[in-house]
């Protein structure tokens, strides 16, 4: 049961334009699981150099813990991508997010640049992770090969605006046009053993619809959602918080697991029924999520 990767929650990823020092200076106060500084679409071409320097200095100076730090770089096909990657790796960012990923080669090319930079700046190879945003039809078709293209990949994400434009339709509240993309990303991520993150919901004052969408994508299997305003963080965390019923059940399973380990048995049983590994994993993950969201506090053993 041990030796699994440590659980990293990615319920919310707070989007923060890389050219806004005011927002960047305290993005960590809102409790998002990850913060994504953007050097790409939210930064005008005239200011790409500015944003790169701002994010680099911020990474080097400001303490963002416990948030995971992600930077969306410009794609390598642009004139900014290479410099972005080098600067962000030097800045010790946790994750580099690649926009508009279409195929495994995109990942491999980016990885090559990352590795080069890690070598140049004496950073342990492999410590910079990657995230791939899929924003078009081809990317969906290649989702699994993208998700498995590098050991650095920790998640794949959906960028719905560009995707909808690419498949020549518009966005709707029910999101039927995104169904295949969402399902594909979840499946590809799970097959590859990495996380999957859903797209932003842009109407920041419509909390009701945000919650509906978060519930729907949670049911689809997503690990979390990108957010563009801090007020979206708490409602989404609430959706991803296990209910008391789920927590109680998970605790029972965990206890059964511990009892089995004490007995030295490989078989875990609860109420006379055997507990399968996936059920156990789900229960442990449920407890981790409950702890992280403040719904459960591990009482000290008497």
């Amino acid at each position: 049961m041990n030796g699994n990767k440590p659980l990293k929650l990615r319920r919310t990823m707070l989007f923060c334009p890389g050219n806004n020092p005011g927002m960047m200076s305290n993005a960590y106060i809102y409790g998002a699981d990850s913060i994504m500084f953007d050097l790409e679409d939210s930064v005008s071409m005239k200011e790409k150099d500015s944003a790169r320097n701002l994010v680099y200095q911020a990474l080097k100076t400001i303490d963002y813990s416990p948030c995971e730090l992600v930077v969306r770089v410009n794609s390598l096909s642009s004139e900014y991508g290479k410099a972005d990657i080098e600067a962000m790796v030097a800045g010790r960012v946790d994750v580099i997010r690649l926009p508009k990923t279409e195929c495994a080669q995109d990942i491999k090319d980016t990885e090559a640049e990352i590795t080069k930079a890690e070598k140049k700046y004496n950073i342990p190879l492999g410590s910079t992770k990657m995230m791939a945003a899929i924003e078009g039809a081809l990317g969906i078709v290649n989702a699994y090969e993208i998700a498995t293209a590098s050991k650095r990949l920790v998640a794949i994400a959906l960028g719905a605006e560009d995707y909808c434009a690419n498949i020549k339709t518009t966005r709707s509240p029910e999101g039927s046009e995104l169904f295949l993309a969402r399902a594909t990303i979840v499946v590809a991520a799970r097959a590859a053993g990495i996380d999957c993150i859903d797209t932003v919901y842009s109407d920041i004052y419509n909390e009701e619809q945000l919650i509906k969408e978060a519930q729907a994508i949670k049911q689809l299997g997503f690990d979390g959602k990108s957010v563009i305003n801090p007020r979206q963080i708490e409602p989404i965390h609430k959706v991803f918080t296990p209910t008391q019923k789920e927590i109680d059940k998970a605790l029972k399973i965990k206890k059964a697991l511990e009892d089995a380990e004490k007995r030295g048995s490989g078989v875990v049983s609860l109420n006379g029924k055997m507990v399968d590994k996936p059920v156990m994993l789900r229960a442990l993950r449920c407890i981790e999520m409950a702890k992280a969201s403040g719904a459960y506090f591990e009482e000290k053993e008497e």
Partner: protein, 93 residues
Amino acid sequence: MNLQQTGIAGTLESGDVMIEVAPSVKGISIDLESTVKTQFGKYIEKVVLQTCKEFNLENVDVKLQDKGALDCTIKARMITAIQRAGGGKYEWK
């Protein structure tokens, strides 16, 4: 190392600083306008001088309009302004 032209970076938004660097012939001069000049003027000037040093810039007129930017923002804006003025490449560390 000397600048080839003027370079401007930054905005007048809260938490930001607008910096203009221009070639000069007489050393480094700093014209600082800041909402927190009394309290943090010393830190701001230190960052400016340090950045000039990193670019081997000995002759430059620096004009800052600061709206309470943190040191890391001032440094970033300085680097961008200098680069835009042809001051050379900044070495990542």
